[in-house]
Amino acid sequence: MSLISVSHLIYKYNHQDTQNALDNITFNVDEGEWLSIIGPNGSGKSTLVKAIDGLIHINNENSVLINGQSYNKNANQIRSQIGMVFQNPDNQFIASTVEDDVAFGLENRNIDFNKMKTIVEQSLKLVGMYEYRDSKPENLSGGQKQRVALAGIISLKPRIILLDEATSMLDPNGKISMLNLIRKIKQKFHLTIISVTHDVNEVEYSNQTLILKHGKIINKAPSKRILLDANLLWKNGLDIPFYRKLIYQLKQKKIHVPSSIVSEKELLKWVIQSSLMT
């Protein structure tokens, strides 16, 4: 059984809408996978992860099952297994200091005070924010707030983390360090990750990619394969990996690059070797 199973999911923003925001969506995510969801603005990506997080009401309760359970019957049990990092760092910082914010989820679970102290400390150390535990949100950068949000989720020991464009408001250095942190945490706790993104570099971290357009799935395949299809990426609002652009330009100049090359490192190696040979 898959950890996350979405089957024939249909959703409308309003009952009167003629078009479905999510139109007959079916896919599975296995434990330990990292799935990217990509697609142009307004394709329904955020709505889809909100459905998986149980934040929107869906008519057919069995169309979203987490570990075989539906939100209608076992909302509390499912919620304890899923955490979500949202796009805007400011909109998910609930308490007035870093450690209070991490504690918020634990308080909701009615965790004992002494136990809470230890968990908060461990979670903040894990994301490298322990020394900022007394800081107020207005004194933190966007990247630091996202780390705190991640600590708040980790403290609840989830099996699944959802990222809704969680790095899109960060600067380039902030993006990369956040993604590396998520990868580290994923490996450490053997987590399953679903990330909504516009960023081709973020897709490179995932092993499966799903493309959404007008609320429909138009493709789901291993990320490696999607990343090779420049046309597909371009049409869906993503940048093309730099090395693919370079290969394309070289081909225009009648330089034959072997098709076995599927990463920037390999291309670099090939260019170095061929130019030193001549």
Binding site: N108, R109, M116, P137
Partner: protein, 246 residues
């Protein structure tokens, strides 16, 4: 110190300030206030910066009171203005009274984190829970509102700048133009705030928040010997005031 105790003692202090009615009792209250400032560990400079503005307002009120009081022996007379000895005396008493209350509440706010004050209010109001009054929800609301004050101030200032850059003028022009300029700030601000609120709601639900379920608390404030000593000291001073009272 425990925030609950601090809030209670601040109220208690305000109460005994109103009991004082002679020079000695005010002297005793000043002594208590100075002791409290000292032990609160607040920097004197920040303390005075905090109360400067309000002291000025109190002073003006007192001067008006002195200038226009009618009882007592006239010391100084100029046209409609009569200054009497009793007028001066009561003027000073009123000045003391307001200043002492301001000092007490300033000690509370400067030495206590907003979150701790929210916690204290929640605990003090907790008997209301029995009447199905949602005290905890209220306290969470207060602390979230406080947390978003700096964020919203930032946002207001950037919206104002953006509209100024588009030539908005809040001080000149006819009424319609000015109203439009003000709308250009409040509509975007409202939208931004709504956006915060709806996302924040999602984030809270996502992290397991439910309003009617028992939550544990990350902060524990124990009542220790300092609380008891303070409590005892304040009681003692209160008794003293009652005895000295004429």
């Amino acid at each position: 110190m425990n925030p609950i105790m601090k809030i209670i003692l601040t109220f208690y202090f305000t109460l005994i300030v109103f009991l004082a009615n002679n020079w000695i009792s005010y002297a005793i209250l000043w002594l208590l206030a100075i002791i409290s400032i000292y032990f609160s560990g607040i920097n004197i400079k920040t303390f005075f910066n905090g109360i400067k503005a309000i002291l000025f307002i109190i002073l003006i009120t007192v001067i008006i009171q002195i200038l226009f009081s009618v009882n007592g022996n006239v010391i100084f007379n100029y046209g409609p203005i009569k200054i009497t000895n009793l007028g001066i005396k009561y003027g000073i008493f009123i000045f003391f009274r307001f200043t002492l209350i301001v000092i007490a509440s300033t000690i509370l706010t400067l030495s206590t984190k907003p979150l701790a004050i929210a916690y204290g209010i929640e605990k003090i109001m907790s008997p209301l829970n029995k009447l199905h009054f949602p005290v905890e929800v209220l306290s969470l609301m207060i602390s979230i509102a406080l947390r978003f004050v700096p964020t919203l101030i930032d946002e207001i200032s950037s919206i104002i700048k953006a509209q100024k850059a588009r030539g908005a003028n809040f001080n000149n022009g006819n009424l319609i133009k000015r109203a439009n300029a003000i709308a250009s700030i409040f509509i975007p601000l409202f939208l931004v705030a709504m956006n915060h609120a709806s996302d924040l709601g999602d984030a809270m639900v996502s992290r397991g928040y439910k309003s009617n379920v028992k939550r544990s608390q990350y902060h524990h404030y124990h009542i220790n010997h300092i609380d008891w000593i303070s409590c005892f000291t304040y009681l003692l001073f209160g008794v003293l005031i009652v005895f000295i009272r004429k």
